[in-house]
């Protein structure tokens, strides 16, 4: 990277001032991209900013104190919990999940409609966002005794494919059991926006167990009553999340136990690579050569499995909704009979390409038989992935027509139409 001379810096700083005065954001962005590679120039620009900011009137400078509207700014959970590494057996995990499910069955179904009408409208104030932030902090830190200060006594908690939890104690038990499955749980709030009488928050859930981790994106809807959170709906099912992470752990453990065979590993991986390539390239017909006639395809929580013809139909259908689908293999383990793959799926939502989807990680177990894939088992449900995708589209509504990230720094820091004469 070329080092800027003092003259070049002064000139760029001058151009920055002019661009700012003229509201020329295009030029401003290009100069900032040069400043990324030159700390001295960056300091100059920041000094200029500081001077110009002081010239703004107090009314023009937005602070928490002078904005009437609740700031729609990202808020991050403050606490990073680092509990000691806790080894948890598979049996214990399964037992815990079973207990949670049993708990759900014992809880009466709440009347959601009746609840909605009781929620106060227009409860947008700073305390709403603080309550949400506190809620995530409590969850992350496992300090569930504080829930009663945040939630109304008749709080309703909703997760997909589960019965709603009515009241604080069932939720406390639920979250406590979830947290206890992992050595560490981190929650990061990405974005918070008000809609009608509720707040919708995008967050990232990260959990660790046995040196394995799973990060997934999700959203939560909050409603308020009497200055507390009265309703919480998550877009993901926490039991499913726990299962997905456990699948990663199990695969990792089984890989430790089974000696790997070089030949079969190579052959299995070739098949797996071909499988993902066919999907990424929207060419399901090419799968004929890698799938056995009795091949079965299964997704998490799907009602039915798919034979080859229906699998191809499904891929075609999915690729109509999602474009630029990309399955990326993060890691893989294989033995003579199977290949375990952890993948990351990224795509864009076709109906109105507004933004890249947040990546979804998952696992696939491929069963190999007679040199062909005989069974494919996905740890995620792609319909749910699409639903989450479309929900986040609707909620974020952030039009992104073209990349907004400044281009990588060029070798020579040129900012058109500058022609350095020195």
């Amino acid at each position: 990277m070329t080092v800027l001379t003092a003259y070049q810096r002064e000139k760029l700083a001058y151009q920055y001032s002019i661009a700012l005065e003229q509201g020329d954001m295009d030029r401003l962005a290009r100069i900032l991209s040069v400043a990324q590679g030159d700390a001295a120039l960056e300091n100059m620009l920041l000094e200029i900013n500081a001077v110009l900011e002081t010239e703004l009137s107090p009314m023009e400078m937005p602070t928490l104190s002078n904005t009437n509207k609740e700031p729609e700014m990202p808020v991050f959970a403050k606490v990073k919990r680092k509990r000691g590494s806790r080894q948890l057996s598979i049996t214990a995990l399964v037992a815990s999940v079973a207990t949670i499910l049993l708990g759900f069955l014992m809880i009466a179904v709440s009347n959601h409609q009746a609840f909605q009408s009781s929620v106060l409208v227009n409860s947008y104030n700073q305390s709403s966002l603080s309550l949400i932030s506190d809620y995530f902090s409590v969850w992350e830190a496992g300090a569930f005794n504080r829930l009663s200060a945040i939630l109304t006594p008749d709080h309703i908690y909703h997760e997909p494919d589960s019965l709603d939890l009515d009241g604080i104690n069932p939720l406390k038990t639920h979250l406590e059991k979830f947290n206890n499955l992992f050595s560490q749980v981190d929650i990061m709030m990405i974005n918070a926006k008000p809609f009608a009488d509720e707040w919708v928050v995008d967050f990232q859930l990260e959990a660790h167990i046995d040196n394995q981790m799973l990060v997934e994106d999700a959203s939560a809807t909050f409603k308020f009553s009497d200055g507390k959170i009265a309703y919480t709906a998550l877009s993901i099912n926490l039991d499913d999340f726990a299962h997905r992470l456990q699948a990663i752990v199990e695969a990792s453990q089984s890989a430790d136990r089974i000696p790997q065979t070089k030949t079969s590993t190579s052959q299995g991986m070739e098949l797996v690579n071909a499988f993902f390539a066919a999907w990424n390239n929207n060419a399901p017909l090419t799968m004929d050569s890698i799938l056995s006639d009795s091949h079965t395809y299964i997704e998490a929580d799907a009602l039915t499995s798919f034979k080859n013809a229906r699998l191809k139909e499904r891929i075609n259908k999915l690729n109509e909704v999602l474009v630029n689908v990309k399955f990326e293999i993060l890691q893989s383990i294989s033995d003579e009979k199977s290949v375990w793959v952890q993948f990351r799926l990224t795509s864009e939502f076709a109906p109105s390409i507004r933004r890249m989807g947040l990546p979804q990680t998952g696992t696939v177990i491929f069963e190999i038989k007679d040199g062909l894939i005989n069974r494919t088992e996905l740890s995620i449900n792609l319909d749910r992935y699409i639903n989450r995708f479309s929900n986040s589209e609707m909620l974020l509504a952030t039009p992104t027509v073209e990349p907004t990230i400044p281009a990588p720094l060029p070798e020579i820091p040129t900012v058109e139409p500058i022609h350095f004469s020195n």
Binding site: L45, L52, K69, N191, R344
Partner: protein, 204 residues
Amino acid sequence: MDENMYQEVDNHRQLKAYITQETQALRNTISLYVLKSGLASGQSLASVADDILNEMVIEALNHAYRFDPSRPPKAWLLGIAANLIRRKQAKQIAQNQREPLIRDLYPQSQALMSDDDLFDQLSHVSHSDPESQLESDETIHHLLSLVSPADREVLQLAIVEGIEGESLARKLGISAGAARVRLHRAINRLRIARQAQDEEGDRS
């Protein structure tokens, strides 16, 4: 998990920590950008700036893998904000059927002389060799006569005496940033004055 994903997670955390710590500073600068861009002013400024801040964070975290963690993130983040504002400017124009931007309100004549021309010319004048010194002195004298005494003072120091940066700030008794802003504004006013004079000369 491969190396790249670890890096992305690290970048994500680094950006998150920085944004959390510097939220107010980022918000102030974005407010400045929004105001200068003509996108919003008055009571709507805070709201629009918050929207931009919010979108900037989403973009930054979604593209954390493109962030170079060896460098401070502020310029990178502000670059994203500037691009978002630029996009909103374009959208606003489309919606309002070509409502002029602030930059469009500047005299069209400025297009004839780029922002850089005068900067280069002044730099050349102040660093000219002894043989062309006489000519340079005349040029400078003429140029400085076009601006106000306050602008003349800062231009005299920067161009004639060659005092820059911290030294200029000390001489003026203000911060380096304030000195630069003052100098840049003086150069810009000089440019406009000179351009106006040239146009008048052409007409007569």
